[in-house]
Every structure is written in C-alpha cells, then in structure tokens.
Symmetry: C2
Subunit: 155 residues, 2 copies
DNA sequence: GCATTAAATGAAAATTACTTTCATCTACTA
DNA sequence: TAGTAGATGAAAGTAATTTTCATTTAATGC
C-alpha cells in the first residue's frame, strides 16, 4: 500500500542508480518526514547524519527522485517548491498545514465532472490539474485558538 | 462586472499611490493580455511604450497590484510565478493553456463538500485552496493534432 | 502656474536559489 | 580485487529577485 524506504532503495538499484551513503541520507530524511521540505532543510537534516554532504547532491537527488516519481512537489501560492515523500502511488492531492507543514494526502478529488464541464464550455483539452488545500492541522489549530475565527479564504 | 483599467487607476489613486507613466505602462500591459505573464515579459512589453523603464519597477508594481488584489498568481507546478489581470473580483480559478498561456477564469469550483469532508476526516481548519487546470486551448489544440491523443494526467 | 515634499524611479550592488564544470572518488560488476 | 561508469563536492557560473541610494517627479497647497 504505502511506499517504503526499502522499496525506494530497491527501485533505485533496479533503475541502475548507485546507492551511495549521501543518497541514503536524503532518502531517510524524506521518508521520515510528514511535511514538505525545501532543499535547504533537507540539506540541513542530511548533514546531521552525513556531514560533508553537498547541497548539489541534494538537488541532484531530488531531481532523480522526482523523475522516478518518488516525491511530489508542493506549490503553495507561487513560492519556491518544496518536496514530499510520495507515500501513496495513486493520483492524489495534498492538504497542507500552513504552520508546521504537515501534509495529509487525499485521493478522490472528484474533479472529473468539473473537468468535463470546463472542457465542453471552453473547448480546452484538459491534461492535468493542480489542487491543494491549505489550513491548520489539529495540533497547530489548538496552539493558535485565535486563528479559529479566521475562516475566510482568499476570495 | 469586469474590472477595467480605469477602475484600477482610480483605486490606485484612492489608496494614495502616485500614478506614474511607468505604472500606467505596466497596468496597460496587464490589462491588455489574456495570458499569464512573467515579470520579464511584462518588462519587455512595457519597455515598448515606455523605454527606460527598469525591471525593478516591474517587480515593485507587481507587488503593489498583488497586495491590492488586482492580479492573480499562476503557479503551474513549482515554476516561477507569473501574473494575470484579475478580471473578475469574485472567488475563481484558472484554466491555463500550457502552450500559449491563455487563461480562462471559472467560478463555481464546487469544492465546498470536499473541503467539509476533509475537514471532518482530518481535523484541519481549511483556510484556502489552490486549483488550476492545465491543458490546450482550442487554437493550440488545432495546431498540434498529435497532442489530442495524450489525455493522461500526472496520475 | 509654481514651490514643496513624500513617494517613485533606475542604476548598481547584493542576495538567493539553483546549475554547470571538472577533478577526484567510490559503488558496483566481473 | 581491479576496472569503470557513475557520483560527489568545491568552485564558478547563471538567473531571478531584492536592497540601497542618489535623483526625479506626481500630487498637493498656495
């Protein structure tokens, strides 16, 4: 069901990539986190178990993992991309905590009928969609009770 | 119904901003385009009617317009942000042509029930969502008939 | 119209995020 | 265990954006 660190390792080898300690370190950081991580954060963490790792290696490993489909990009309104272990292989989207960064996956976006309607109305050939929900996870919600009154979106 | 260039100009003045020829040039470029534009493209176009305009001014004007809510950001999977005249003031989303960049707005995303379900299931307080459809507009679709066979999303 | 002034501008430098280059190293294969 | 293709990291390079600051100018009041 859920992709594991071991499966990632196996896939890397299968695809002909070498399994270096640096790559292991990056994989570990990604597989252990429930949040979306920037390259800089991944670098910091990987550095703890593997001092001497270079930021370049982080970028290269992220590219590789993205191409292999093991990580997702979180977009969050025009800022720099951050990355996330793709725990479930099927089509899904993310519910992102804007405070701590925790991400919950959800499948069944039910956008098919909307997609069909838009396609008919506009003549567009729709190829993909991007959907993300942003808010506060239960923990962060408790820590900021005043925020609970703010229910408005961006309009 | 639709926001006009004149309304933008009026709002700027109302908010205490000065109406400089540079700002006029940027407003014009944005109001005339049906696509999302990068700062670099806006710079190029504004340069035609106002040679000597600096790229810094583009960035500053875009920030201002974004804060005032006159432009939307288009995200498109982790790349650099590009901007778009917010023609309709209400909550809406974008259908973006991945070839020519033309954007069609649509309201009624019908995400309320999904949002409620997710909120119940996860305990998240959902504050906003990000939704974009990407595909080929009718014109570009005709120009690349071979693309019509590619209907798969990112899975 | 004209002086005043706070805000806006643009050149240049600084910053940030990322990519490329290249000499060295190392995980894997035979 | 040697050979080798692929991986690494330091350093340089690139691109996008921001900051700094001296100069200019749009709007206001006279």
């Amino acid at each position: 069901m859920e992709t594991t660190l071991e499966e990632m390792v196996a896939a890397l080898k299968r695809e002909g990539y070498k399994l270096t300690p640096q790559r292991r370190a990056v994989l570990r950081v990604i597989a252990l986190s429930q949040s979306h991580l920037t390259p800089a954060i991944i670098y910091q963490r990987a550095h703890r178990t593997h001092p001497g790792i270079g930021l370049v290696t982080i970028y290269r490993t992220l590219n590789m993992l993205h191409e292999l489909g093991f990580i997702c990009e979180v977009c969050g309104e025009g800022h720099r991309p951050s990355y996330l272990f793709r725990r479930i292989p099927q089509h899904h989207h993310h519910l992102v905590c804007s405070d701590c960064g925790t991400v919950v996956n959800f499948t069944h976006c039910n956008l098919d009928s909307l997609e069909r309607r838009l396609s008919e109305e506009t003549g567009f050939l729709i190829q993909e969609h991007l959907l993300e929900f942003h808010g506060l996870c239960p923990k962060c919600r408790k820590q900021m009770p005043e925020q609970n009154f703010f229910l408005g979106g961006k309009g």
